[in-house]
């Protein structure tokens, strides 16, 4: 213990040298602290509270039936009688369980309505896309039937556009495209969010996005809310718990894409598209 005089000012009198040394000690400590804070900022903020993994919430929704999507194009110029209309045309095959989407590349609306023509009594009974506007895609249409069934269809607006599709054996893996799952509990920051992440697909694959959490999420291209191109490349739109959506990678070039959830922008993932 140091000696201090009584009766006089019990003071540590400063001198410029002492002051300078004191300042250096404080400044160096603060600098080291600041460096740690800045470099480790995210690392100290990345674990969800342990209790959230133990939580028994409502049971997770069941996974979607493995089903892929077959696309049929409505060609440009199809409205002109005699021009090629659907592609693939009479030889179109749809694996059992797949849904079909018609993409209208023409500049006028079309439909794909089951039946042989407008005088068919059963017209539209098996399936009917309804009006598909120019440049748009139909909903995903379920095709009921057995393997081997051939179902004729036509365009209700231009009945001379006819085609047919044949149901074939379900593909290996039931024609399912790759599935991207949004995990249960992913809304809690620090919990695992997307699975698999990163995800590798081949260009042209149709990715099924399945929300296994019990609150809404999205899969939206971009690095985050401040990204001006948010959603420009792909967007699942808002998926409620248990819902699925598809992301068609056909138009995407081969590289890695960032995506995130627009509601919980701390949920991020990467989609790797290969040739």
């Amino acid at each position: 213990m140091t000696e201090h005089e009584h009766g006089e000012e019990p003071v540590v009198l400063t001198s410029p040298g002492r002051m300078a040394r004191g300042i250096i000690i404080v400044a160096v400590t603060l600098a080291i602290g600041a460096a740690v804070v800045v470099t480790q900022f995210e690392n100290f903020f990345s674990n969800a509270p342990p209790v959230t993994r133990l939580q028994t919430g409502p049971p997770p929704p069941p996974p979607p039936p493995a089903a892929g999507v077959t696309t049929i194009a409505i060609l440009a110029g199809a409205a002109g009688q005699g021009n090629p209309d659907y592609d693939p045309d009479d030889d179109a095959t749809v694996p059992m369980g797949n849904k079909v989407v018609w993409i209208n590349h023409d500049n006028v609306p079309h439909t794909a309505t089951s039946g042989t023509g407008t005088d068919d009594q059963d017209s539209g009974v098996l399936f009917d896309t309804g009006i598909v506007n120019d440049g748009e895609s139909s909903d995903e249409i379920e095709i009921d039937g057995e393997v081997g069934d051939t179902i004729p269809y036509y365009c209700f607006i231009h009945p001379y556009m006819t085609s047919q599709l044949t149901i074939v054996e379900a593909e290996e893996g039931a024609g399912s495209g790759p599935t991207l799952t949004i995990l249960l509990g992913s809304s809690v920051q620090g919990n695992p969010d997307y699975n698999p992440d990163p995800m590798t697909v081949t260009a042209g694959d149709v990715v099924t996005v399945f929300n296994a959490d019990n609150i809404p999420h999205t899969v939206t291209s971009g690095t985050g809310p401040s990204d001006p191109d948010t959603g420009a490349l792909f967007d699942s739109n808002i998926l409620n718990g248990g819902d699925t959506a598809t992301i068609n990678t056909a138009g995407l070039g081969a590289r890695e894409y960032d995506y995130y959830c627009i509601i919980h922008s701390y949920m991020t993932g990467k989609l790797q598209v290969t040739e």
Binding site: S15, G22, V51
Partner: protein, 497 residues
């Protein structure tokens, strides 16, 4: 330098407390400037991630309360109490050192993690959502800081009650001693509740308990009761040392004896007791029944006469005195003026129906900042200017001191009085962004400009302190402020036995 790091002498420890708290004040203030810059305009300015913003204001609040207000009061107490009770040191010097050195540890935990759940750490958010390890670090950091407070409080109580000079009756000790005594007793009564709440938060986060977790049958409101039972008295724990310092400065600079020592003591004791009767006025909006709300409104209002007694004492002391408005006095009187507004705003908040206008809005932010910046920080800054010659033997630059005062007074008024109005317009607390309407934008901008003015005042203050400590003019130790009286009539200690 090594000797000061290992010293257990009260003046060394007091100095360490003061230096640490001033450093914390500056870096907490820097965070405040970041917040105000971000809020200058709607939308994202310098911060793009809301998470970062939330971590910044949580750390700002936690830092200012636990690393500036408490340690500074402890530092001045450490420096002066043994002198004032005419004893050679604190009752337990080694414990004193231990209590201080726990603070940098707590500081590191709080700052490195930067949790995001606000300084209240209210569950269920803090249990179910707040990411770790920042959250756990905050919990442990506050545990350590709380323990440090409790150890310091024990030390003060024993020093004042047991170690004071036998010829010095308690009723003749300075009111600063009374303030410190009362504060320390309050700490012992109030803090253990929060210590328990912290442990409960931690085990809830782990999932081994469900005290506040609604999914496990717990009650989030229980936490709020525990928290506020500690932290309403805690705000008086912050304020009472400042009030004690005002009692040191006002009679000296008014060159007139204190109006009434008796009512000072009475007011301190009353305030300390009544402080424990009002905690749930922070919880009016949680769905309490009418009787409970009335009870706590009465409890809150009951504390006002005690504060009013202090104010009366100060004004009556200044009345008719030959007041010298040097820097310490200016700060204290400026603090007194802001105390009026803070208190008036507090009365508004305690009125049950009016609280539904102001709760969790910027009114509350303006209100409590007028207390902690206006009354408490100003009293602290006045005190540090006053003690400057005592501690360093030199005199700071008086002109710079006065400029510092005016910058801070104008700046603080601009920020926090404006925020009262902002709150009435409905802007909530703890928001990264706000509705982009004209009134909100203008008021936020005024507040930011005020913050910049305050920031420059604070920076000037630090520069003054540092420069003058090293190169200031040596002070006339008998009367550095030229008041015509003895500077510290109790530096002459009697020889200890």
């Amino acid at each position: 330098m090594w000797e000061i790091l290992f010293s257990t002498h009260h003046t060394d420890i007091g100095l360490l407390y003061i230096i640490l708290s001033l450093v914390a004040f500056m870096i907490g203030g820097a965070l405040a400037l970041v917040i105000r810059t971000e809020l200058f305009l709607p939308g994202a300015q310098i911060i793009t991630d809301p998470n970062t913003f939330h971590r910044i204001f949580t750390t700002h609040g936690t830092n200012m309360l636990f690393l500036w207000l408490l340690p500074f009061a402890a530092g001045v107490g450490n420096y002066l109490i043994p002198i004032m009770v005419k004893y050679k040191d604190m009752a337990w010097p080694k414990l004193n050192a231990v209590a201080f050195w726990m603070i940098p540890v707590g500081m590191a935990l709080v700052w490195l993690g930067m949790a995001d759940f606000t300084w209240y750490a209210t569950p269920p958010y803090s249990i179910l959502r707040a990411p770790g390890p920042a959250a756990e670090m905050w919990i442990f950091g506050l545990k350590i800081l709380g323990l440090s407070s409790i150890l310091g409080a024990i030390n003060f109580i024993v020093t004042i009650l047991k170690m004071k000079h036998p010829d010095l009756p308690l009723m003749k000790t300075s009111l600063f001693v009374w303030g410190t005594l009362v504060t320390s007793i309050m700490i012992l009564v109030a803090l253990p509740t929060f210590t328990a709440a912290l442990i409960m938060l931690f085990t809830d986060r782990l999932g081994v308990s469900g005290f506040f977790n609604p999914n496990m049958g717990g009650d989030p409101i229980a936490y709020q009761h525990l928290f506020w039972f500690t932290f309403h008295p805690e705000v008086y724990i912050f304020a009472i040392p400042a009030i004690g310092m005002a009692y040191e400065l006002i009679p000296r600079f008014a060159r007139k004896p204190l109006f009434s020592y008796q009512s000072g003591v009475t007011a301190f004791v009353l305030l300390a007791i009544v402080a424990f009767a009002s905690w749930a006025h922070h919880m009016y909006a949680t769905g309490m029944d009418f009787t409970m709300k009335t009870t706590f409104m009465v409890g809150t209002l009951a504390a006002v006469p005690a504060s009013a007694l202090h104010v009366f004492n100060w004004i009556a002391t200044m009345w008719g005195g030959r007041i010298k408005f040097s820097t310490p006095m200016s700060f204290v009187v400026g603090g007194l003026v802001l105390f009026f507004y803070a208190g008036a705003g507090g009365v508004v908040n305690s009125m049950m129906p009016l609280d539904f206008l102001t709760h969790d809005s910027y009114w509350v932010v303006g209100h409590f900042h007028l207390f902690v910046m206006g009354l408490i920080t100003f009293a602290f800054l006045g005190m540090i200017h006053y003690l400057f010659p005592l501690i360093t033997g030199r005199m700071y630059n008086e002109r710079v001191g006065m400029i510092t005062f005016w910058l801070l007074f104008v700046g603080v008024s601009m920020v926090f009085l404006t925020q009262h109005v902002l709150g009435l317009y409905g802007q909530p607390r703890r928001v990264f962004d706000y509705v982009p309407v004209e009134p909100l934008i203008i008021m936020n901008q005024i507040a930011t400009v005020g913050a910049m003015i305050s920031g420059s005042g604070a920076a000037l203050f630090m520069a003054n302190m540092i420069y003058s400590a090293g190169k200031g003019k040596p002070a006339d130790m008998r009367d550095p402020f030229k008041l015509g009286e003895q500077y510290f009539d109790y530096t002459r200690k009697e020889p200890h036995h």
